[in-house]
Symmetry: C2
Subunit: 327 residues, 2 copies
């Protein structure tokens, strides 16, 4: 794995990213998978009495594993997470003035364990990570400064998607098989994850926030059209598995619209930005369903901003955009 990335990035001086940050994150994903596998009692989260506690423990374990790993990467200056949405030094006392051996400085923003509602029934869940150039993600141009994103996918196997868009290099999107015992185990499953071009043999749709269709004629009409046109439904309710489904199948559209009665729920920094980078690197689009703008076009004002999402196959995103923005 490392050699593949290195060959693409080392000419641009991304030694720390390839040799330290990405391997550390993949090892974290392996460790989180192990922690989940051993947390049998989270399934009690579906019951009345134990709700909350066990589930929270898995979240916290994932959070701590990632924070500990980032603290050991000298180039990671700043970290923040969906569990604690404030940017702070990745390691006590580390400051913007500290210079790593290669002058690389990164900010990492992550959602340690996305999909808490489907942990109890033992459905696939995931981790979402964005990597930014510099000491902060706030007030930065996301399309330029977020140079990498990683998804961890915890299902029957443990897999990861890595997307990189480093200035001066071609964007890339890889699928990694994450091993059980450290970096040497990871293997590249597909070195070029790309959404397919038309024609499509099967069209997939993943309608999140479907209850919003009760209030939005546009959303209801769009869903009805998918049904009439015989799109195939796959919707787990986990952002990571739902997006990864499209990437692996080569086609799909994920929709999480915002209506008057249903607020935007997805965090821009911890969910939308990394997902958008990955989808774009795979040749797709990711837009805000409220104004149709690219998710990555507007800088962040603060860490806990939220928005809706339409992403996936470019042609499908355009169709959904017209349908949802239709006056």
């Amino acid at each position: 794995m490392a050699s593949h990335l290195k060959s693409m990035l080392l000419p641009n001086g991304r030694t720390e990213l390839c040799n330290s940050v990405l391997p550390a994150l993949l090892d974290c994903i392996s460790d989180i998978a192990k922690s989940l596998r051993e947390s049998q009692h989270v399934s009690q989260a579906g019951t009345t009495n134990a709700f909350g506690d066990s589930q929270l423990n898995v979240d916290i374990a994932a959070e701590n594993l990632i924070r500990t790993a980032l603290a050991k990467c000298p180039s990671v200056l700043t970290a923040s997470s969906e569990e604690e949405p404030v940017e702070r030094p990745a390691s006590d006392g580390r400051t913007v003035d500290d210079v790593s051996p290669t002058s690389e400085k990164y900010t990492v923003a992550f959602d340690p364990l996305d999909g808490s509602s489907i942990i109890a029934p033992n459905w696939t869940v995931g981790t979402i990570i964005g990597i930014w150039d510099g000491a902060s993600a706030i007030h930065q141009q996301p399309s330029e400064k977020q140079i990498g994103a990683v998804l961890g996918i915890y299902g029957p196997r443990t897999t990861a998607i890595i997307a990189l868009r480093v200035p001066g290099s071609e964007p890339c999107c890889l699928e990694i098989g994450v091993g059980g015992s450290g970096t040497q185990d990871h293997q590249v499953i597909r070195s070029n994850v790309q959404l397919a071009d038309p024609p499509f043999t099967t069209r997939y749709f993943a309608p999140a926030n479907l209850r919003a269709a009760a209030e939005s004629e546009n959303y209801m009409r769009l869903i009805t059209k998918y049904m009439e046109k015989k799109y195939t439904l796959r919707y787990s309710g986990g952002l990571v598995p739902d997006v990864v489904h499209a990437l692996v199948k080569g086609h799909g559209v994920y929709l999480s619209p915002v209506t008057g009665a249903s607020e935007a729920k997805l965090r821009r920094l911890y969910e939308l930005f990394p997902i958008a980078l990955i989808v774009e690197c795979a040749g797709g689009k990711a837009i805000d369903p409220v104004d149709g703008e690219d998710i990555l076009s507007r800088p962040l004002e603060n860490c806990d901003e939220t928005a809706g999402l339409v992403c996936g196959t470019a042609e499908e995103v355009d169709i959904a955009k017209s349908a949802l923005l239709h006056a």
Copy 2:
């Protein structure tokens, strides 16, 4: 685990079931989980060139693990599977006249790995197993002769659902946390899996074969009603995770209707019967959407019969039944 089951069943002389068949099946589920975890290259099944082969290998591995385990259980006379839908002796030379130490005789019918379409994107998949009294499942009354069913769920964890309805004992439905290293690792997560009674805070629906809605006004109208009434959508496309979601959340309705243009796809022996027993033992219903009859009411004529399915929370199954059978 074993002690819990034993205390419920041993009074009825089910020594082999509790001490041999169920432990062997749980160990199989643990082994299949391990095999899946190590099969990173199945994700290539989503690509053009490698489609089929790798995926098939995982299916065959699961099939072989279960057949090998059953051959070692002296009380299992007959086995058949979705991969090879013909009843034959579970072990070479074993016959109906062989009598196990406790005179128990079982037929086991199984789908080794259900959900092949979602293996590549690393979504949760499962194993489905039915256990019958006697030397055959054919021409037997399913509601009486299928006395047990087991689901293996391969997700971030490995879990199992066991339902037993042995004459003379109370029906039961358990959730098991399956360990990584043999029987001693398994633990009971919930000893009484039950669908909830109304009122429901969240209502879930899982509409399979949704493309049939394009041809069935009744199905389209029912789906639209779920959306208008703000049911929550969860549909992975895997029968096992979809049904287990309802069991763990305590509410849900799974629908796989049959229309003129879309044939019945679910195998009665390998999928519908075990799922129906589990749902009934959890207090729910499982019916054939064509005639509204219980799935378990009609005997099997041959091993590869198929049908549709509506199952889950009893009240929801009744609502769906009226809607789908509406003239």
